[in-house]
Amino acid sequence: MTITLSRRDFMKASAAIGGGLALEFWFPVAAKAAGGVSSTEVNAWVVIHPDDRVVIRIARSEMGQGSYTALAQLVAEELDCDWAKVSAEFASPNEHIRRKRIWGSMSTGGSMGIRGSQDYVRKAGASAREMLVAAAAAQWQVPANECSVDKGVITHVLSGRKLRYGQVAGAAAKLTPPSDVKLRDSKDWKIAGKSMHRLDIPDKVLGKPVFGVDVALPGMLHASIAQCPVFGGKVKSLDARIAEKMRGVKKVLREENFIAVIADSWWRADQALNKIVVEWDVGAHGNASNETIAAMFREGLADPKLPQARKLGDTDAALASAAKVVEAEYQSPYLNHATMEPQTCTAWFKPDGFLEVWTSTQNGEASLAVAAETAGLPQEKVEVHKMMLGGGFGRRGGSQDFVRQGVTIAKSMPGVPVKLMWSRQEDMQHGFYRPASMVRMKGGLDAQGKLVALHTRIACPSILAVLMPEAPLKDGIDFSAVRSFNDAPYEIPNQQVDYARRNGHVPVGFWRAPGQQNAFYRECFIDELASAAGKDPLDFRLAMLRAGDKNRLVLEAVAKAAAWGSPMPPGLHRGLASIDGFGSYTAMVVELSVSAKGVAKVHRVIVAIDSGYVVNPDTCRAQAESNVVYGLSAVFQQENNVRNGRIVESNFHNFRLMPLPDMPKVETVLVPTGGFWGGHGEPAILGIAPAVCNAIFAATGKRIRSLPLKHHDLRKA
């Protein structure tokens, strides 16, 4: 059974039961074989139709970041096809497994979508182009190097004969791919490097059902779920007598650590779920709270025998002889991803022994593995349909809990497709949170105000310990917990970074730019040191960066764009941060005001980014805007508190997202210097917390050492 066949099954089912509204469904793939003329797969990435339409396969997920389009641009650039005829489709995870992982990585995180696949997708485009040209040349019996290509039309230059890609695709597919291809210099790009309109947007503005929660299948049922509110707890007993009798309810499912109701609409399932009286065995963590977690971190910070994530020189000696020593303790709370689309998974155990899964996933291959394992089926007998994600931000990659649940639920109803969707409350209270953490920093300045020593102690949960417990960690050090300190670019002769891995019971995960809380700590503390040294924050940083350091270049770019050092209009204040990560270098200036009542308002954010290359400038700017908003929501409002072992917040009234009126002007300065490939999905969030807090210091004289800001009195000191 191949996926092509199973897709056709659905088409048939849809037509048979009468079409129209009731059975409409939609796949994020190009229609196969329109008009009975079939398309040709020139290679795994490039499919060409006889009418020259080009379908480019995309292995990474689309969650708003735009790589669905940007990856297609990279392939199309080397393929030399007509961009107006390009569409994209997701590569099938099932086919990926059967064809020995032919599409490379399907994982979509770490801002890796472009930088992690640019080399092989460009080569796939270039290779297909060569094969198409070779096929045309063979037909004309001329050497291939006498042919040129423009927008998918091959011309034999001497004779003026022409063939279109659609005419030679079939012959090209039969040729042996070239062993090596030359990639185009970015200065010659015609499709890549341009702000092409995104391929996914037209469907999204029409409200086409493109997301995981939009799946609809013949006879499909709906499920709502409740997990033990205390992480790690289990179901002890339940009374579902009322729920079972409610309208539309088909089944109440009890599993070890969750209960679910399956009904004929999601609302009915959810209503019934709320009528179930459950007793939970909360396990060992029923008393955990913010206080016990803070105590755990403090104990970690006091541990005399911590592993070191960095050791340069002798910080103890340098601090002892420093002219001035500055010390500070900083902390941050847990944070939920709050993807606008809650977690969801549709699964269907089909009568032929095949399992089909539809989900919003950041890693189709990981979803397939979890689905197969949960179902007890070989991976070849499982297909995962990758849907558009209503946001990802790291929630839907490493943690595939929703797939495990969706498959478990559907397994209880063989032959019937069941769509699981979490309620917002469930989503808020069962995330894989941005780690809460606490750090102590000690910096030593010499008599000239130069930073000579920096000793950082970090108490922070390890994300890998939760999501990949088998991953080998050297000395137990998780990079995401120590980043920005263990790889700080500043030339400080004596540096030591100690790591106290303290996990607690709250599950932690990759939250947009994992480890970004360290950027807040480091860049605010650097500001504290600059002010203790009596230096301008920009000069203080520049003095610690070697000539040619890319951090220096973006700092200079942002300083220029923001006219750093020039007088500000009354009431406005600036803050600065410089930080690299996810392959890119960023620097940020925030301009804000603080009213007499202590209300801070961000007016303008200027961010400079060097990502080496830029594939779609407009998308890169959109990502900078997105990171600013995601970051500002966290800085001003968000926290997930722990009480009685559970998350306190339950919806957007107590976990607030920044609203439209608070949107500052965002100016993105793209300064790609070439020679390396950096990401865009995350880097621009790194500077936002420190730049805001440094501006608040400029405005009020108050140092902010914990977030969110809503707990601080910002009236002038």
């Binding site: 947007i201 037209p202 993807t339 946001g391 997202l657």
Partner: protein, 161 residues
């Protein structure tokens, strides 16, 4: 049995009168462009028009929509795209897109009320939340759509295919 008028077509649904309109649209009428985000009138992902007014359908019992004109994202584009949709494409507003159908319905209702909205009008009317942070482009695209609509016979990009 309840009779509903959705996007100019009449439908009969056999559901509880207290079922929120959102779920009638999504699970019973298969109009899945309208989204669930919070279920508590906090996010606007579920915004539809009821007699021309933007309403959060997650909190509206379906019985209260009987006898009224319900317009969802699926019915917004007529022969051409609605100017808001055209401007949304032109200015690349959506990122993940999940909040955008609600965003578009709110913006369309705003333009009906205020053909040339000011920034303050937009701030007041657009209470929809977007986790992807598309707000700057939402604002820009609303102004662009207002301009587009003010020009008689202005070319509208795209089609409602």
């Amino acid at each position: 049995m309840l009779k509903l008028n959705v996007n100019g077509r009449s439908h009969t649904v056999d559901v509880e009168p207290e079922m929120p309109l959102l779920w009638v649209l999504r699970d019973h009428l298969n109009l899945r462009g309208t989204k669930y985000g919070c279920g508590m009138s906090l996010c606007g992902a579920c915004t539809v028009h009821i007699d021309g007014v933007a309403v959060e359908s997650c909190s509206l019992p379906v019985s209260e929509a009987v006898g009224k004109k319900i317009l969802t994202i699926e019915g917004l584009a007529k022969r051409d795209l609605h100017p808001i949709q055209a401007a949304w494409i032109e200015h690349e507003v959506p990122q993940c897109g999940y909040c955008q159908t609600g965003m578009i319905m709110s913006a369309a209702a705003l333009l009906d009320k205020k053909p040339r909205p000011t920034d303050d009008d937009i701030d007041a009317a657009m209470t929809n939340l977007c986790r992807c942070g598309t707000y700057a482009r939402v604002k820009k695209a609303i102004h662009a759509a207002a301009e587009m609509r003010a020009l008689p016979g202005a070319a509208r990009k795209g089609t409602a295919s």
